[in-house]
């Protein structure tokens, strides 16, 4: 962790920004490394838990047999692994897009309160509007995420200097704190979802089921496509709005696309896994070290790395709390908060 953090500090770009572009060879190499890491994470996620499965049993289980307890354990871990991969990728991608569009190194679906807004919307829907279908959850979450992002941006950009990184982050965490209180207040009277207080405040993938994942997938896919469409214009946006407009970029359209994509991703992933913070904060910073700031590379990398980070966090949550397990949102907060502090600590939180 420390090594990564100091590494980030060191890449505050030197004049001429050498890190802007890495040779294609390097990027491909990292892509392979990342894919390998991802595969390892998946294997770990399937093998580790209250019952550890040896590798040969893991292979057999993946081959489709379910003859003994080990292989059955693997089968029950498949949905949560898939969910961790999907949600991690969505959050990593959403974080990278948010950082790009707000040009704010502190932007993250958790820090800016967007995930908590999605969660509050779902909880309100359940408690007051009789919402009870998987699709309803997702639509409510997307609506909540959209409204929250607009609200936080409006609060954060009031006054002198517009939406500076620190102002936006403060507005986000305050909104997040407010929504956390509201969620407790809304859910607590409902005995039937009272245990849900926990799952709607701290995200986790433990309760994953394939049917809910299936419902979320179209939304996540649409969000990912929209985000990737915005990748090239986001590069121009990084130069500043005026310059981007001068280069012929339709700034408002780009912002709209990026906003829509990230709201879809945040909303759908919160609807299936609860609010998970800091993945979208950490991942883009690390990926920028690997591949530079070109969004066409950064976005896919962030998705891959987000999937890896969330999966490995989930595994960690199962290891440190044996024989119980910790929700993955706790782990990402433990890992991500120091990262957040490190970025805030940098003398001048430069705009991206």
């Amino acid at each position: 962790m420390t090594a990564e953090v100091t590494g980030t500090a060191a890449t505050a770009p030197p004049p001429g920004a050498a890190a802007v572009r890495r040779p294609a060879r390097v990027r491909l190499l990292w892509l392979l490394a990342l894919a390998a890491a991802l595969a390892a994470c998946c294997a770990a996620s399937l093998a580790v838990g209250s019952r550890d499965v040896p590798l040969d049993q893991l292979a057999a289980a993946l081959g489709g047999s379910s003859d003994n307890l080990d292989q059955a354990a693997v089968a029950t871990r498949v949905p949560r692994t898939v969910l961790a991969l999907v949600v991690g990728a969505a959050l990593g991608l959403a974080g990278a897009v948010m950082q790009g569009v707000t040009r704010n190194p502190l932007a993250d679906p958790g820090v800016l309160g967007v995930n908590m807004g999605a969660s509050l919307a779902v909880v309100t829907g359940i408690a007051w509007f009789g919402l009870w279908t998987a699709d309803g959850f997702i639509w409510a979450a997307i609506l909540g995420a959209g409204l929250t992002s607009v609200f936080v941006y409006a609060v954060g950009s009031l006054g002198r200097g517009g939406a500076t990184p620190l102002k936006l982050a403060l507005a986000g965490v305050a909104t997040s704190a407010a929504f956390t209180s509201f969620i407790t207040a809304v859910v607590l009277p409902r005995g039937d979802i009272a245990d849900g207080v926990r799952s709607w405040q701290i995200g986790g993938v433990g309760g994953a089921r394939f049917d809910t994942i299936e419902h979320a997938l179209p939304f996540l896919a649409a969000g990912a496509v929209v985000c990737l469409l915005a990748a090239r214009p986001l590069n121009s946006l990084a130069l500043g709005d005026e310059l981007a407009a001068g280069l012929g970029e339709r700034v408002a359209l780009t912002r709209g696309l990026a906003w829509l994509g990230s709201v879809l991703l945040c909303g759908a992933s919160t609807a299936v896994a609860g609010p998970i913070g800091f993945v979208g904060l950490v991942v883009p910073h690390l990926c920028r070290l690997l591949v530079g700031v070109d969004h066409r590379w950064l976005l896919p990398y962030s998705a891959l790395a987000g999937a890896a980070l969330l999966t490995v966090s989930d595994v960690l949550g199962r290891i440190i709390a044996r024989p119980e397990e910790l929700d993955v949102g706790i782990i990402t907060a433990l890992v991500g908060a120091p990262f957040f502090i490190a970025i805030v600590r940098r003398r001048k939180t430069r705009a991206l």
Binding site: V155, G156, L158, G159, R160, G161, T164, L166, K167, A169, L170, A171, V173, A174, T175, A177, A178, F179, T180, S181, F182, T184, A185, L188, P189, A194, D195, V197, R198, I202, G277, I320, A321, E324, L326, D327, I330, I331, A333, L334, A337, P338, F340, I341, V344, R345, R347
Partner: protein, 350 residues
């Protein structure tokens, strides 16, 4: 000549009148607050699933054995109400001290992670180490002081910038809340009420044994803080001015921080970190009394009043019994947003 003298005398008289008026307002507000605290305190003792008339309550408080009321009022409601008042005073004093010293309402101990640290340590001592009573408070205060130092060191970069300190404190608080959840997950079984206590604060299960350490802490640390209230007000004007006015800056600051963190930590060990209470009390008190004079005593009264009212509301206003921290959380969170909006509008130093 006489004309000039007359004008000067008139000016002096005007200033004196203004000061007298402000003092009068301050005193009036404080007396009113104290009366309100007493009234709500009495109500808390009477109201509940069964109503007891004032006469019964008075007899119980005086130590007589009243059938029925003896247990309900003496063992359940009285410790709860007393703890509410004491915890409110502790959080109010601690919060107002930090806010005044750092000249920023957002820099209150419950926002910058100090309460979260005390809470995580208390939960750790109880759940993992199986401790109870005063040792829990020792853990809480050690963690509170440690976190205060940590946040200060992390945000120190040739001077402590306001927003950086607040954001870093929030980050530290997020981590510590995660630690609390982790600790609670090690308990034999997950108890929602217990989790809510250590994350947002609750008065459920108050006992005299729980009241005692907080009361002692308040008896020792409260006077320390109040005796330094003038120095605290002077510190607002900056270190150099304070030094020129005869305040030993470093010593005073360390003393104030230790006393404030001590109050917060002891209260947290008993009730959990009652959400936004330390943060709310100071600004509300200042709003009521006006910006003159020390905010400490008014903040303490407002804190006590808030806890009493929030607990009453939480217990009886809805079908469900809400822990006090949930009510203060719902009240405090919008106020936090409002403060940020106002700070941004006026072009703060963010």
């Amino acid at each position: 000549m006489t004309g000039a003298l007359a004008t000067r005398e008139a000016a002096v008289a005007a200033v004196a009148r203004g000061r007298a008026r402000r003092d009068r307002r301050r005193r009036t507000v404080m007396v009113l607050l104290a009366l309100l605290v007493a009234a709500v305190f009495a109500t808390t003792l009477m109201v509940g699933r069964t109503f007891y008339p004032p006469a019964d309550v008075v007899r119980v408080v005086l130590g007589e054995d009243v059938p029925g009321a003896g247990f309900t009022v003496g063992r359940l409601r009285l410790p709860r109400a007393v703890l509410a008042v004491i915890a409110g005073v502790c959080f109010g004093l601690g919060g107002a001290t930090f806010q005044t010293m750092l000249r920023n309402p957002l820099a209150s101990p419950d926002i910058i992670g100090i309460s979260s640290g005390a809470s995580a340590a208390a939960a750790f001592a109880i759940v993992i180490l199986g401790l109870g009573g005063p040792p829990v408070s020792v853990f809480a205060i050690a963690a509170g002081l440690g976190i205060a130092l940590l946040v200060y060191l992390l945000s120190y970069r040739g001077g402590v910038a306001d927003t950086r300190l607040v954001l870093i404190g929030i980050g530290v608080g997020v981590m510590l809340d995660s630690v609390t959840v982790y600790v609670l997950s090690r308990a034999p079984q997950w108890e929602l009420q217990e989790a809510l206590r250590w994350l947002t604060g609750s008065l459920n299960g108050s006992t005299w044994a729980g009241v005692l350490p907080v009361l002692l802490a308040l008896a020792v640390l409260g006077p320390v803080l109040l005796s330094r209230s003038r120095a605290l007000s002077v510190l607002r004007f900056g270190d150099d001015t304070a030094a020129a006015l005869g305040v030993r800056v470093e010593r005073t600051r360390v003393l104030l921080i230790v006393a404030a963190v001590g109050l917060i930590s002891f209260a947290t060990a008993a009730t959990g970190p009652i959400a936004f209470l330390a943060f709310l009390s100071g600004p509300i008190a200042t709003r009521l009394t006006g910006p003159h004079g020390s905010p400490l005593v008014p903040a303490a009264l407002v804190g006590a009043l808030l806890v009493l009212v929030a607990d009453l509301v939480g217990q009886f206003a809805f079908g469900t019994r809400y822990p006090v921290g949930v009510v203060t959380g719902v009240l405090g969170a919008p106020y936090l947003l409002y403060l940020i909006v106002r700070a941004n509008r006026s072009g703060g130093s963010l």
